[in-house]
Structures are given as structure tokens and as C-alpha cells.
Symmetry: C2
Subunit: 229 residues, 2 copies
């Protein structure tokens, strides 16, 4: 295997972010209308080029920060897309990342300034290049990840109701869940704190708020516990 460093082709490397949020019992994506060529005016994931001294994780975080004002967000690599013709202008490979954010936290001004919009998964328009495939893979990935790690909470506010949590999982798995079985399962995990407080916005009766107890979860993991939904 002769890998000469001389004469090897250098290539543009980009990151693209699939940014998930949750609102009104729906999973949403943060999409931008491109304000530059090619495909100006078309819908696209938000992305950027990898800079000389940053990792792709850095780049993805930078891009996300610029668009949402959010730092310290749950982000993971999905896949790298390398079709020589995926970008018509110049050969570019793209490392796709997904991010899970609490939609309420993002900076509206920045979002508007970048002509970005929250779009429900069901309403995602045609996307440029291979971005639709990126989204598809990201969804599969979060379905898996949320089933084995308590990362779904990243999409919710710190205090949430059992029903919100259920709707979130229904949106992620794209299937209905029986609420009695769901509550039972969550309770058995024993990683939530039930607050005194109620959320009165969703019903007359009101519904109790919960918090994810990260310390408790991590302590349990130390003792061999593994999250499974």
C-alpha cells in the first residue's frame, strides 16, 4: 500500500448539520434558504467548510453557534458523504452531524438573520445535493441513540411532563405508544425526578413536571445500569 503524501489530491471538506428541535408534539428541523450559489434560494441544511485548525466537531459547533447562538449542544457525526458529483461547483466531501437542541433556547434573531426556519419533519421540502439522505440517516441514528441513551431530554426543556416525553418518543419513533406502558417503563428506569409543580397549560387538571436526574443516571450507569426504551 503505497501512500505517498506527494501529489495527492486535496479536497474541500464541509460539515452539514441536521438540527432537531421539538415543538407542538412534532420533531422539527432547522433549515436555511441558501443565499449564495449554487442552488441559491433552495432549501438546505446549514453547513460550513472545515477550517485549517479545527476538527469537524469544532466546525459543526461553530456552524451551530452562528445559527442558533447555542453552545454546548449534543452533536454527533452521522456519516461522511463523498460522491464526486455531490456538489456541482467543486469537489467537496461533507461530514454530516446531527444536533439535538431545546428549540426554546435558540436565538430568534440569529435564526432570522440567516433566513433559517423550523420545519416539521413531515413538511421538509426538497433539499439540495444529498441533504435529504443526510436527514434520513440522522433520523435513523437518533432513533437508535434515543433508545439506548437518555439523549431525548436534550430536545425538551429542563422541566417537562410525562406526556411531552411520550409525544417526543412517538415523534422520534414515528409510532404511537400506549401511555400506561410508557409511564411504567420510564418510572422503572428511575432516572426522573417528579416535581411538586404542575404544567397547567395543557389541560384543566394540569400535569406534573419532571426533571431528568443526570447525576442519578450516571451513578446508575457506574453500577452497570443501562438505559433501554
Amino acid at each position: 500500500m503505497i501512500n505517498s503524501y506527494q501529489g495527492q489530491t486535496q479536497i474541500l471538506v464541509a460539515v452539514d448539520c441536521i438540527i432537531f428541535g421539538f415543538h407542538n408534539d412534532e420533531l422539527k428541523l432547522l433549515l436555511v434558504k441558501r443565499d449564495f450559489e449554487p442552488e441559491k434560494g433552495k432549501w438546505s441544511l446549514v453547513g460550513g467548510f472545515l477550517q485549517p485548525n479545527e476538527t469537524s466537531d469544532d466546525a459543526a459547533n461553530r456552524v451551530l453557534l452562528q445559527l442558533t447562538g447555542l453552545d454546548d449542544v449534543y452533536m454527533r457525526q452521522v456519516n461522511t458523504f463523498t460522491d464526486p458529483n455531490r456538489d456541482p461547483v467543486e469537489r467537496t466531501i461533507s461530514i454530516a452531524y446531527y444536533a439535538l437542541i431545546n428549540l426554546e433556547d435558540h436565538n430568534e434573531e440569529l435564526r432570522k438573520k440567516n433566513s433559517a426556519h423550523w420545519v416539521a419533519l413531515a413538511d421538509v421540502p426538497e433539499l439540495i445535493f444529498d441533504h435529504a439522505e443526510m436527514v434520513k440517516m440522522a433520523i435513523k441514528e437518533i432513533q437508535y441513540k434515543t433508545s439506548i441513551q437518555p439523549v431525548g431530554f436534550e430536545l425538551l426543556p429542563p422541566k417537562f411532563t410525562m406526556r411531552q416525553l411520550q409525544k417526543l418518543y412517538e415523534a422520534i419513533y414515528q409510532e404511537d405508544i400506549d401511555k400506561r406502558n410508557f409511564t411504567k417503563k420510564i418510572n422503572k428506569l428511575d432516572i426522573l425526578v417528579k416535581l411538586e409543580e404542575k404544567d397547567m397549560s395543557s389541560s384543566r387538571k394540569g400535569s406534573f413536571l419532571f426533571e431528568f436526574d443526570k447525576e442519578k443516571y450516571e451513578a446508575k450507569v457506574q453500577n452497570g445500569f443501562s438505559f433501554k426504551l
Copy 2:
């Protein structure tokens, strides 16, 4: 999000292959002793640079073909590694792939010519750059993949015994499995064909050979069946 294509940094893009084989009830990796700088003489995964007109899948297949003589091999992306300092010579990002091959099939001459060796997982020496991390991620990935898809068979010859299959899963999951429970589970899946033929090499009594019935498996998948081990 201003992504000018002008003035963006171009970067070397490599692929590295984590090649798994199975022999003597052990998972093995195909590693090479580098015959070029940097780190000449050190152990390394086999890799190569992405060429102008190929996808990274192409590149990984090319690299694997050159080393093993094998084509049409099960390969999947693991992750892309982008630390600016991961390669001391020049900035290079690497897209890691894992491959599952039937160790018996590979071309010994090519292997020797490239100073490649099969090394049991437990005996993997120190590897250059971030290759150890690549291996770690690849193992996690095959643990997951082999639990939800019948890809373990890629590591076995077309005809194999129930015991071989069990030892394979034990090697992948790195834990012992009860043979009665294992047999029961596999039989329930109903995707193997039991042959008349026996393998007489492992015991006096001999043990029956099986084949994976790919058509049957795919037909079942069409009907909603999902593999789970």
C-alpha cells in the same frame, strides 16, 4: 452562513480499513507494518488517499482489493477522524471503514507482499495515529450491526457449524453464550439451512454444517421479520 467556495482550505482525505477476520475461534485484524514515513516500521491499519474521481466507498474497496485480492466485501463507514494533528506530516482527515471478510478467501501472496499480518484482537499492538480509536469504534459498530443484521456470516465460510457461529458471536460480543440457548435462538430465526454434511475436523462425532439462506432471509424481511440476536 456565508460559505464562499473561494479561498477555502483543501485538505487531504484518506480512508483507513479495519479488516476483520475469524479464525480459531478468534476475531482477527489485518494490520500492516508501514513501509514508508512517517512511523515507518510501526503497525497500522491499511489505508489510502481518496482519488479525484472516486467515492470513499470506492477508495476503501480499492485499498481492500489491493491488500486481499477480495472484491464485493461487506464494508461500512465507521467514523471520520479530523484532528488537525492526527497526522504529523500534513493535515489529513481519515474516513474509517470496517470490512468483514472470510479469512480463508484472502490472497496470501498479496498479503505478504504488503507485509500485512492477521493479529488476534487481544494481541493488537500499538497502532499509529488514531488507529486504535478507529478499531475501538469499529468493534462497537460490529457488535451492534451483527446483533440486528445477519452480517456475521460474512466472517465465516459458506458452510459452518452451529458451534463456529456461536464462537463467532462470543468473539464479537466478548462474552460466553450458553449453547442451548444460542441454538434455540438461531433456530427460531429460521434463516439457516441444515445440511446433511458434517464437519469431522472438530470432534469424533462430527458436527452438522449449516448455510445462511439469504433468499429466505430477504423474503422474511419483506414480510416484516427483523433479525435480532
